[in-house]
């Protein structure tokens, strides 16, 4: 995520992309999701995914993965790195395979000492989904936690991935994230 932040920084400095404000209310995320945030966020639209943050992407963010199709990768690697050997979503994957996809994708972009906590089924506004919690670090050794909620609709994979530095930041926004996730509809 730190690498993401650097690329972001350079892109932004070059005027390619800036953060825009998310106000409480009904918000559309591309054609993929509808959400009801109850607080303000800063959003960054990256096409295939969108990231929301309050304190900056190196500290925490929600990644909204906007419906992966067969053969697509989950997380974008650092600039210049090839996507050839990265794990890809295949239609027909079941929850266990999707969880492996999430874990392997995270490791492929630098996730280390990854541990998956309980994987369980949930409902995302009526749609069958499942969630897991993960703990990992990056090369800097700072411990991070993440919540992943995934669902398949019309053979596309939807993933909500919230990550935060474990110390202070994960706890700080935990309740807000749970409320936000509960409000999300897949379009």
């Amino acid at each position: 995520m730190k690498r993401l932040s650097l690329i972001l920084a350079l892109l932004i400095l070059n005027g390619c992309v800036t953060y825009s404000l998310v106000k409480p209310g009904t918000v559309k995320i591309g054609d993929a999701y509808r959400a009801q945030p109850r607080m303000e966020w800063s959003r960054l639209d990256r096409g295939r995914s969108e990231a929301w943050t309050i304190d900056g992407n190196s500290l925490h963010a929600v990644e909204f993965i906007k419906g992966l199709e067969d053969g697509e990768i989950l997380f974008q690697p650092a600039a210049g790195k090839s996507t050839d050997n990265l794990p890809k979503y295949r239609k027909g994957m079941n929850p266990l395979e999707i969880q492996d996809l999430i874990s392997n994708s995270l490791k492929a972009i630098g996730g280390l000492k990854l541990e998956v906590e309980e994987l369980r089924p949930v409902k995302l506004n009526g749609v069958d989904a499942f969630r897991s919690e993960l703990t990992y670090t990056l090369k800097d050794g700072l411990i991070r936690r993440a919540i992943a909620v995934s669902a398949v609709k019309n053979e596309k994979l939807y993933v909500l991935f919230y990550y935060a530095v474990k110390q202070h930041y994960f706890g700080k926004y935990r309740d807000d994230i749970e409320r936000l996730f509960q409000s999300i509809e897949i379009l």
Partner: protein, 453 residues
């Protein structure tokens, strides 16, 4: 060509009136007393001139013994360039101590540090070994004595003698101070380049000429690097033999790596011009010859396979999973075949052979387009059989080997489900749940079983 370019530079420099490289930057700095032929522990280990074997083709004409061995227990003088290099490396080492990818397990670290200590002799206290979770065949040595051993290397060594070969090689880099030699050489080349470029700019030559100069200089930099590697190989195998290890294990590492790499026909060893290591074939051949020289009689020397497998065994499962995650189907497959033939924890290896296919998940029908491409001469990737069927065969084999792990049933369940055999999938997943200890995915699997009934 290098000499020609240097001549031009000199001419250019003369034109710029008295150009001189920054004083003190390029002279080799000796950290201990400057006697022409130092004796003592350092020299005894490397053997001095004896190691400059005629059997090894040195590329550079420069005398590698212009730099003397580091003396055990010493640091470079504070004013020297080498001290500056150590300062930066000390900082990098501090980061490494608490890095996310460091394996801190005491038993594993003690085992490897123990081998390093034995080989390094009087240099033992000067070298600190770090085990790093990184799925590639690699080990590195920084000038200040920080050695890294990557997990991909631990996965590929078959016994202690093979690991000791690599560790001895890295110790050689430390003793011979290759880091500071390298830095001086790179600085010298870069400094030379900038005056050349200024000179060339002054004479109005087009930019293309700079590139040739850079090319020449870079070739020079890497050639120096290759000689360092040759020297480190010599020292490594000497230490290996001296401490009673079977020196014939040394070339096997390269043979094994070659076999693995060649499984991918698209693999190219990289442009020779830029390669920082001698070709693997050359290393294998040289080490074979040296082994004969050092140990003409066979069978008396240690491989310590049991000790190695006991130390690395608990980790191999994780290292294999890391390897698979790289998505390099052909080379991983070759590696797994070799590890199976090696005979250690064969159930694990069979399982990962299955996983390789399941994760690739290709079916012949889907590859219709690729058949067309292969007809047109492009690389042929289409599998002959359904990957999930092949995976199941490997899982069955894994179950027949000693100590099969419960997770095999989980993968059987997943593969069966992909083949549409829902009943078989359910049975396998139920078996997994009954055998596994506190699986984290229990509730989702129960949900999946319920859904499919």
């Amino acid at each position: 060509m290098r000499i020609g370019a240097r001549f031009v530079a000199v001419a250019v420099c003369a034109a710029l009136a008295g150009c001189v490289m920054a004083p003190g930057d390029q002279k080799p700095v000796v950290s201990n007393s400057a006697s022409a032929a130092p004796v003592g522990p350092a020299r005894l280990i490397t053997g001095g001139a004896k190691l400059k074997s005629e059997e090894v083709g040195w590329e550079t004409s420069a005398d590698p013994y212009a730099y003397q061995d580091i003396r055990p227990g010493t640091r470079p003088a504070q004013k020297s360039d080498e001290a500056g290099l150590w300062m930066v490396m000390d900082g990098m080492e501090r980061q490494l101590r608490t890095a996310g990818n460091r394996i801190t397990d005491p038993a594993l670290n003690e085992y490897i540090q123990g081998i390093v200590c034995k080989l390094a002799g009087p240099y033992c206290p000067d070298i600190r070994t770090y085990v790093v979770r990184a799925p590639h065949f690699n080990a590195t040595m920084m000038g200040n004595g920080t050695m890294q051993v990557w997990s991909g290397l631990l996965l590929r060594c078959r016994n202690e003698a093979q690991l000791a070969t690599v560790l001895g090689h890295e110790i050689g880099h430390y003793i011979r101070r290759h880091s500071i030699q390298g830095m001086h050489d790179r600085v010298a080349k870069a400094d030379f380049l900038i005056f050349l470029q200024i000179g060339l700019a002054a004479s109005g030559l087009p930019p293309g000429v700079y590139n040739i100069a850079e090319l020449v200089a870079m070739g020079g930099v890497y050639a120096f690097g290759r000689d360092h590697e040759r020297e480190a190989d010599l020292i490594g195998i000497t230490l290996l033999a001296r401490h009673g290890y079977d020196a014939r294990e040394a070339p096997k590492i390269w043979a094994q790596l070659q076999q693995e790499m060649k499984a991918n026909k698209d693999y190219s060893a990289g442009s020779l011009f830029y390669a920082s290591h001698p070709p693997q074939e050359e290393r294998e051949a040289t080490l074979t010859r040296l082994a004969e020289k050092l140990q003409p009689a066979t069978d008396k020397f240690a491989k310590n396979r049991d000790q190695y497998l006991a130390a690395i065994g608990p980790w191999r499962n994780g290292f294999l999973a890391d390897e698979l995650r790289l998505g390099k189907f052909k080379t991983s497959q070759e590696l797994l075949k070799m590890l199976y033939a090696d005979g250690f924890k064969t159930s694990e290896v069979r399982f990962y052979q299955g996983e390789l296919h399941r994760l690739r998940g290709k079916t012949p029908k889907a590859e219709k387009n690729e058949d067309l491409l292969s007809f047109l001469g492009a690389k042929k990737d289409a599998p002959e059989r359904n990957d999930f069927e092949v995976a199941l065969e490997y899982y069955e084999k894994a179950l027949k080997e000693p100590d099969p792990a419960p997770v095999i049933y989980r993968s059987i369940g997943l593969a069966q489900q992909r083949l549409g055999n829902d009943d078989a999938a359910r049975e396998a997943l139920k078996t997994y749940l009954s055998l596994a200890k506190n699986p984290k995915d229990r509730s989702i699997i129960e949900f999946m079983i319920k859904q499919s009934s």
